[in-house]
């Protein structure tokens, strides 16, 4: 049974290196399941042997029956059933072994497949957590998501079904072939020749169908793309009375898909009956050739005294030839699926192999206090505070109190190594002050915040945090010391309480309430159906934008970071709601170093220092009064005076 999967499947892609990918898959299987896998192989051999014997024993049975019939008809003796009974007993023993072997191997198989899949998923997710932000900025959400859904699904198909099926088929083919050879090499040649003939038919059909499958896949892509776009814009369709034109365009694509899919399906559909009936044809050929050869005495038959010897051999061969041909068909049909699965697996491994975020930092963030001599000591005695623990080359340790003194000096940066987005940025932020970055979209405001918390690394220049080059600070600790509030709010499926605690897992319930109260979120949380235990789903869909933002601010409040970055934190909220959120934020900003990134001037007016940015450069800076005095860009925007336009 399939799983919920609402994403349209992507068209199959070319596999770059099937051998290597298979080896990777094997690596996961052999790691921890090598023994089980070998056991499964052995068991499959047993069960294949049993199924081949189920046909082969028919010969013994026919010979035994023939012997008794000959005894009655040719020699006038009474029939005896002992011989038949011994064949039957042999059957029962082999069958019981076969059933047991197949039951056990199937069970083991499930365990192997499912735990390998779990390992792959876990590895992939853990790896994702270590990827740099750049990865997420350069890959779409759907792209990354489909590695966890579609691509893992096809990988599952490969590990749980295709591989075991192919292995079983191979083993059955081998066992069957050996058995046939033992019985009669002449008839085996006949079987092999007919199989070759069938192969040519498959190839001819396959080549034709591949073409139609590609065009079907293209039509599916086109139609699904159209559906996706129009369902999304359905309201616009209504507003413009576009319905009739829409229907026409849809019809054209729908009919094109119908045509191509019908062609592709035709080939797929006729494949089955053609193979099945060619197998019948093969069956007939073996019977005819076998019968004629026997009549001419060209078949070497074990017990030539038995009248039914030739019949016994031919009828057993008829059964054997079917169980030889069936798995061959199966493998050839599975081939397409394997290619698709390998393409999926390759995408999974691609993510696992992506370069993780490098971190060479060694300065760490610790809790510390002043001892009686005024030295900084690690620990949480009395009024503790955060300090940087800085190990030096000579083995000594120094501690620096975290003050929130941030200096950017001559910073240059480009995202792609080509187009420079920041030019020679120099900013000094004194501890406990509020600095604002304003400017048009694309001026480089957010880029600066990306650099301070090292989502990206600068190309040139220096960033110092309390006098320490931020490259020396361990990334986790650097980020712990910075609180970040973004315009896009992300809440998690969990209770309100846990969403706030997200910022600081060690926070007690009391801390959570305190943080919520500080930012004025407590009031609305208490009005929620279950208060702090209300479970948020779908990114807090049942909360208003303002409430969601308050929660994300509370999340930062509970972490109590010395430095905060507010990146357009209030820009998607209307101005009235903003004033409520703003008062919550004002409480939080007291005594901290704060970077405010905004385009609304009202948000930044009371900052200690305002940087006006344009095209990656700081074009003006100073406090509100100074900038008003200067009568530059800030002034003209603030007063609404005309800006010259081209």
């Amino acid at each position: 049974m399939a799983k919920t999967n609402t994403k349209p499947k992507r068209p199959p892609m070319k596999v770059k290196n099937p051998g290597k990918t298979l080896a990777r898959v094997w690596g996961y299987i052999s790691k921890g399941h090598g023994f089980k896998f070998v056991l499964v192989m052995l068991l499959i051999i047993v069960s294949s042997y049993a199924s081949v014997q189920s046909m082969s024993l028919m010969e013994d049975l026919a010979l035994e029956i023939g012997k008794q019939l000959d005894a009655v008809n040719l020699h006038g003796l009474q029939p005896e059933y002992g011989g038949i009974l011994s064949v039957i007993i042999k059957m029962v023993i082999i069958f019981v072994c076969g059933i047991l072997a197949s039951a056990i191997s199937e069970q083991l198989n499930v365990v192997i497949a499912q735990s390998v899949l779990r390992d792959v998923r876990d590895t992939m997710f853990a790896k994702m957590q270590r990827l740099p932000i750049k990865y997420f900025d350069t890959h779409t959400f759907g792209e990354t998501m489909s590695r966890f859904t579609n691509d893992t699904d096809t990988l599952e198909e490969l590990i749980a079904r295709s591989i075991p099926n192919i292995v079983t088929s191979m083993i059955t083919i081998t066992v069957c072939f050996i058995e046939m050879l033992i019985k009669s090499w002449q008839l085996t040649i006949v079987v092999v020749l007919t199989v070759f003939a069938m192969f040519f038919v498959i190839k001819g059909l396959g080549g034709k169908s591949a073409h139609y499958f590609v065009s079907r896949q293209k039509s599916v892509g086109k139609l699904n793309g159209y559906i996706e776009e129009m369902m999304n814009g359905q309201k616009v369709v209504k507003v413009f009375c576009y319905e009739d034109r829409n229907k026409k365009a849809f019809d054209a694509l729908n009919n094109e898909l119908n045509h191509n899919a019908t062609q592709a399906n035709k080939y797929a559909n006729i494949f089955m009956p053609i193979m099945a009936n060619l197998t019948y044809l093969q069956y007939v050929i073996i019977a005819v050739v076998g019968g004629l050869m026997a009549n001419k005495g060209w078949l070497i038959v074990g017990d030539s005294t038995n009248t039914y010897a030739a019949f016994a051999l031919v009828s057993a061969f008829l059964l054997l030839s079917r169980s030889f041909t069936r798995p061959i068909n199966q493998v050839s049909q599975q081939f397409n699926g394997v290619i698709m699965a390998l393409a999926g697996a390759e995408r999974v491994f691609e993510l696992i192999d992506s370069e993780p975020e490098a971190d060479n930092g060694y300065v760490t963030l610790v809790k510390a206090y002043y001892d009686e001599n005024g030295n900084i000591v690690e620990g949480t005695v009395g009024d503790w505070f955060y300090a940087w623990k800085h190990p030096h080359g000579d083995g000594t340790l120094t501690y620096t109190k975290v003050e929130g003194h941030v200096v950017l000096k001559n910073v240059d940066f480009s995202y792609d190594g080509k187009k420079q987005v920041l030019h020679d940025i120099t900013v000094e932020v004194e501890p406990g002050t509020k600095v604002a970055l304003i400017g048009q979209t694309g001026a480089g405001k957010t880029t600066i915040s990306n650099l301070i918390n090292r989502f990206y690394d600068i190309d040139d220049g220096k960033i110092r945090y309390d006098g320490i080059n931020i490259n020396k600070i361990k990334k986790d600790d650097l980020r712990r010391s910075l609180g970040l509030v973004l315009q896009d709010i992300n809440l998690f499926t969990d209770t309100v309480r846990e969403n706030i605690r997200y910022g600081n897992p060690e926070a007690t319930d009391e801390d959570v309430y305190k943080a919520a109260k500080l930012v004025h979120a407590d009031e609305f949380i208490k009005r929620l159906p279950d208060g702090y235990d209300t479970v948020l789903t779908l990114d807090g869909a049942n909360l208003s934008q303002g409430q969601r933002q308050l929660l994300s601010i509370a999340r930062v409040a509970v972490a109590n970071p010395p430095v905060m970055i507010l990146d357009e934190a209030t820009s998607s909220i209307d101005t009235r709601t903003e004033s409520i959120v703003q008062s919550g934020m004002d409480n939080l900003m007291k005594g901290r170093t704060v970077f405010v990134i905004a385009h609304r001037l009202s948000t930044v007016r009371n900052s200690d220092n305002i940087m006006v940015m344009n095209a990656g450069r700081i074009i003006e800076q100073g406090n509100h009064d100074a900038l008003m005095e200067a009568k530059g860009t800030y002034y003209s925007l603030y007063t609404g005076a005309k800006i010259s336009t081209t």
Partner: protein, 581 residues
Amino acid sequence: MISLIKRCVRQYKKASILSPIYVALECVFDILIPFIMTFLLEEGVNKKDSNAIICYGLILAALALVALLFGALSGVQCAKAANGFATNIRKDMFEHIQTFSFSNIDKFSHASLVTRLTTDVNSVQMAYMMIIRIAIRAPLMLIFGVIMTVYAGGALAGIFALVIPILIVGLLLIFKFAYPLFKTLFKKYDRMNTVVEENIRGMRVVKSTVREDAEIKKFSQASNDIYKTFSKAERIVAFASPLMQLAMYLSITLISWFGANLVISSNGQALNQSQLTMIITYSSQILMSLMMLSMIYINVTMSKASIDRINEVLNETPEIKNPENPVYKAVNGQIDFENVSFSYKGEGGVYCLKDVNLHVKSGQTVGIIGATGSSKTTLVQLLPRLYDATVGTVKIGGVDVKDYDLDTLRSAVAMVLQKNVLFSGTIRDNMKWGKPDATDEEINNALKLACAYDFVQGLGGLDTHIEQGGSNVSGGQKQRLCIARALIANPKIIVLDDSTSAVDMNTDLLIRKAFKEYIPETTKLIIAQRVVSVMDADLIIVMDNGEVVAQGTHTELMDTCEIYREVYETQQSGGDFDGEN
């Protein structure tokens, strides 16, 4: 399923009937092969008659080829029928969705409509294919097989009375235990996907709060949950194949023993050796067919959910329909709201518009101000009947909007939606949405009015390709293109629903100026966050909590309306930096 087939099979009825007929014929010939084979073996091999071998061999080869022919024919018809059926379902759904009103659209989310049109239709198509082919073949093979066994072996057929129930009961037990597990599995997959989704979207939060390890643990838990349930379910399902073997081996053993006894005791009269082989062949066919039937059962059961979801769309009644004897001309852009209340849930629901009375003269500029959630958007959406007023009347040009022809009405009222989209295609294609036969000159005029002409020229003119969702133009540019698209049809009323939020103030001003100068006859409704955008309007409406709390000019409102003053004052402390030129 049946009602859906009746409704959508249409021109593919013939193929849908031919496919099972051809399958049935294929079955007849297939089933004859083992039977005729007994003659070849008995007459030819056992009696050593080479002529008989050749004669029967030719008959058998002919049978196989005829069966092949019918099988292939049925495959072709089946492909036609199933794909045609699916095409019709898609067509019907899509066309029906076009008749949906906004409230119908709201009921189904955009993603769910896409799923219904793609994944669900696929699963129904698969089920239909099975029904018109394998679902015919399997029972026929089963019945023919039993008949032939009874014909040749008589009482030996009794063995199936023992084996078939074992297989059926076993399969049912597997289904019964595995099905609920698979059902819970869906939920666990949802949970895992939610974790992944939230992490991809919120990676900046995860990283900045250094919660990577906690998230990894969370994911492992979800992933392990799936592992446990999935393994359990699959382990149950894994019993199907040994069960099949058991049934197979049991019947082979029993047939061999009793068959051998019968052959010997009757000296090949009641049953001969060849017939014994034949019965064994049929027994495997019978058991395989049963297995097939159980697979069809599972597939059809699973497609039922899809069918329900498709029917939900097809049976949805569009809430807004064209009136009988509609009015085909709107005389002017005069707007009247008379005691209008509105609830998304209809009467008895929570009213988000309460007793609104408004009168706007044709050609006036009207600003609408209010906090998020004050129902500004709801108010204007009543004009082109995107929703219908629950209580009261909305009139345009003195005529109730419900009396207009829908196309006439919506062409007269151009809406620039808040959440607007551009479509993949050239800028010209997008502009023609507003007016299919628009000339380049008309398009350029509209672009100029919306202050979009200059940047369109800069991008490369009307032939510039727009990516899906307009992802290759900036937010402000997108908004201006959307405004231009609405202006092209020369509407009586134009509504801008927060449509210049990403446009810088200066351009915003230029657009409003152009409106005043070049389309003085058109009534202009402007919803805005910024008071500046509506300050110079003829009439400003202040909304709060679904009610019109004040209306008047800027000067009047500054005196009388506290909310308005408050908003104005908080915004006075500065302009806005967004947008681009």
